[in-house]
């Protein structure tokens, strides 16, 4: 196999030894069709439906109202906490509604979205590039969060969280992932072919933020054009472009790290624990746009492939209905569904008009002829094929048994959460078991349980606190009463040492009442207030005069 970057030029690159990850499969790649035409830009759609929640983490808080005019790149959703990323208007226009709309999500549920009617001017909000050298790491990360930069490989994890050199102060190796191993998808390939300099610039920026010593770009060797373009753009820089053997899923972060550095990240650990951080090439481009031009993330390259006449890549504004993108690629008439992502990891969309979001790397147009429904599921025969194919070194059939039996604790013990849902196991299973569906089911059940557990723990603490508080209040009240009673008793004993003292001893409460009554009686005797008591002297004299006149004229004095 020809590995251009591996053998020539000699000297620098011959040192590079590649490693192998376990498992993996070699499905048909189907990549040629969508790389024949250059990336196209779509005309502005009539409406954009921009969901506020497009990344891992908290749902951004809306910053706009219905009826408001927005400019291209204006922030319309602010990051909710640090694990979140902002959302921006993809073009200028009017927000006509802020309402729940169908999400490009397997659930088929709606979530809060901003509906924008473009005004056609596509006018940018003022943008301010930043000087990377002038800002601290924390400020840069906040800037990227507010620019909405997230992982473009499909996981949409907020990038600013990964651009943290951590406690050691630096990350040894920065890996930029251009492997793009999933069949049909070519958006990263086309990005590297057509705009390699943006990827290089973004990569250098990230390397600077992370303080990385080694910078590698891994590209599967079935993309010689992308490798050549990237090598040309990297010439003279410290970035090393490394073609890696084509085998699905070479683009998985842990797998690519393994291939390039030989580091095996153990179960339950993260690559940063070993000084390696991995980003997608699209993310590098987004970082460059955000820092060098001040432009937030508002569009991405999307591959449209599958059951269409002209498969192609498009630069698509977020919020554009998928059907509008697909229409340009001329879908065949028997199309009956779209998948978001590729055939291995993608999932069906609940409708044709769901919007393109940050996670949409590919719209795979499907028909029953192109992707026939899987044959019926048969019992697992424990052949072990899935374990051989699993790139994460798991035992997929064990996970399957545990998920099937709802035995989630055991599934977690077998490292369910290290499963990257790559689909290799499902691909090779001779019994056609939809294994990944079982893992997704088990994972979401475990998350739900964890949420319930947290809520229960909180409720327990609050309930116990409230009980303690009530106890304390009761105790304090009793103590106060007792103290008062003792005080009264002492006073009574002092003032009238004879009879009342005896009763007080019998019943402090009675004595208390008696004392209170006595006090009230004395008070009443001392001052019998009249409503004329507190008046100024002039009024007093007036009243006296009136009284005198009244007495003179006859009738008796009015009673007080």
């Amino acid at each position: 196999m020809a590995l251009p970057g591996l053998h020539d030029p000699p000297g620098r690159l011959t040192l590079m030894k590649l490693f192998k990850f376990n498992g993996g499969v070699k499905p048909e790649t189907h990549k040629d069709a969508s790389t024949r035409l250059p990336i196209a830009t779509l005309p502005l759609p009539e409406r954009l439906t921009v969901p506020l929640h497009q990344s891992i983490g908290g749902t951004p808080r809306p910053l706009v109202r219905a009826g408001q005019r927005v400019l291209k790149g204006q922030r319309i959703g602010a990051a909710d906490g640090n694990v979140s990323a902002a959302i921006h208007a993809p073009t200028s226009g009017t927000i006509v509604a802020l309402e729940p709309a169908l999400m490009p999500h397997a659930s088929g549920l709606a979530a809060l979205s901003a509906v924008i009617v473009p005004d056609g001017e596509d006018a940018w909000a003022p943008v301010t590039p930043v000087d990377v050298r002038a800002l601290s790491g924390g400020e840069l990360r906040d800037y990227l969060r507010d620019a909405g930069v997230v992982g473009m490989g499909g996981a949409v994890f907020p990038s600013h969280l990964k651009l943290n050199p951590g406690r050691q102060g630096k990350v040894q190796t920065l890996i930029v992932n251009g492997a793009e191993c999933e069949p049909y998808i070519t958006c990263d390939d086309m990005l590297m072919r057509e705009r390699p300099e943006t990827v290089v610039r973004g990569t250098l920026l990230m390397a600077q933020i992370l303080g990385a010593e080694r910078v590698l770009v891994g590209i599967e060797d079935n993309k010689p054009e992308a490798v050549a373009a990237m090598e040309a753009a990297c010439r003279g820089s410290r970035i090393q472009v490394v073609p890696v053997p084509t085998r699905y899923p070479a683009g998985g972060a842990k797998q690519l790290i393994r291939v390039l550095t030989g580091i095996e990240v153990p179960h339950g650990k993260r690559s940063t624990d070993f000084g390696v951080q991995c980003f997608n090439v699209g993310t590098a481009c987004a970082v460059h746009e955000a820092l060098d031009y001040g432009r937030p993330l508002i569009s991405r390259i999307v591959t449209v492939a599958g059951n269409v006449s002209t498969p192609r890549n498009f630069e698509v504004l977020f919020g554009t209905p998928m059907s509008e993108v697909v229409r340009t690629a001329l879908p065949r008439p028997d199309t009956n569904r779209y998948l978001m992502g590729g055939p291995m990891m993608g999932f069906p969309m609940p409708g044709f008009n769901v919007p393109v979001v940050k996670a949409t790397n590919c719209i795979l147009v499907a028909s029953d002829a192109l992707f026939p429904p899987p044959p019926p599921e048969m019992p697992c025969i424990r052949c072990g094929e899935c374990a051989k194919a699993c790139p994460a070194d798991l035992a997929p059939f064990e996970l399957y048994w545990f998920a099937r039996a709802h035995n989630f604790g055991k599934a977690q013990e077998y490292h369910l959460f290290d499963c990257i849902e790559c689909g290799c196991c499902t691909y090779v299973c001779p019994s056609h078991i939809p294994l990944v569906d079982y893992y997704r089911y088990a994972k979401s059940e475990i998350w739900a349980r964890e949420r319930d557990k947290e809520a229960a723990d909180q409720a327990r603490t609050r309930f116990e606190f409230r009980n303690d508080r009530q106890e304390r209040e009761k105790r304090e009240k009793a103590e106060k009463l007792a103290a008062k009673a003792a005080e009264t008793k002492a006073r009574l004993a002092e003032t009238s040492p004879d009879a009342p003292a005896a009763t007080a001893q019998d019943d402090p409460k009675k004595a208390l009442i008696a004392a209170a009554l006595e006090r009230a009686r004395q008070q009443k005797a001392a001052v019998e207030p009249r409503n004329t008591d507190d008046l100024p002297p002039t009024v007093q004299t007036e009243i006296a005069e009136i009284d005198a006149r009244r007495q003179a004229s006859g009738p008796a004095e009015p009673s007080a």
């Binding site: 929640h53 569906d437 949420r451 409720a459 327990r460 309930f463």
Partner: protein, 183 residues
């Protein structure tokens, strides 16, 4: 013979002392079984089980005074976990205690609320904020859905709202193979 007896007795005394020391020094506070049962109960604190809160019910289960199928909020899942823990048979929820409902939170009709504070006093987890003659409101994130605040309200302004599924809380369904009609 005698020396053997002395040695054995000596060992027994030493070990006994060690055990005695350990039992005092490493004493576990509380009853671990009650803790384990309490960890399974949903902490709704609703009293539907017939006990004033989840902890007393856990106590009663551990003493054998209550059955494992009396907690409606815990539902089938909870009964299964209790059965697993205690090595008992799974049985259906006792209908006398109530029925399993989808999770809900209380909502106070703010136009009707007269600010009597009665619901605050009823809430076992302090999930209601308000003050005398002020409008009250429920903090949904803290509400366990126990419904204890509903009865005390003199103007009936509290309703239970089921929590809708969102994109974040949605769960992948258990895979079922759909049988398609042969063409």
């Amino acid at each position: 013979m005698l020396s053997a007896l002395i040695v054995m007795a000596g060992i027994a005394i030493v070990l006994g002392a060690a055990l005695g020391y350990a039992s005092i020094h490493f004493k576990v506070e509380g009853d671990p079984l009650v803790e384990k049962i309490d960890a399974i109960l949903p902490q709704t604190q609703c009293g539907q089980c017939g006990f004033p809160g989840c902890r007393p019910y856990a106590d009663a289960i551990s003493k054998g005074d209550a059955d494992i199928n009396q907690c409606p909020p815990g539902g089938e899942e909870g009964i299964r976990k209790l059965a697993d823990l205690l090595g008992r048979e799974v049985k259906p929820l006792n209908a006398e205690n109530g029925v399993e409902k989808p999770k809900a939170v209380a909502f106070i009709g703010e136009e009707t609320c007269i600010g009597c504070t009665l619901c605050i006093q009823a809430c076992p987890v302090d999930a209601i904020i308000g003050a005398a003659k002020q409008m009250h409101t429920v903090v949904p994130a803290l509400c366990t859905g126990c419904e204890l605040c509903i009865a005390p309200c003199p103007v009936d302004c509290i309703t239970m709202e089921t929590i809708p599924e969102t994109v974040e809380t949605w769960k992948w369904r258990y895979p079922v193979f759909t049988i398609r009609q042969a063409a």
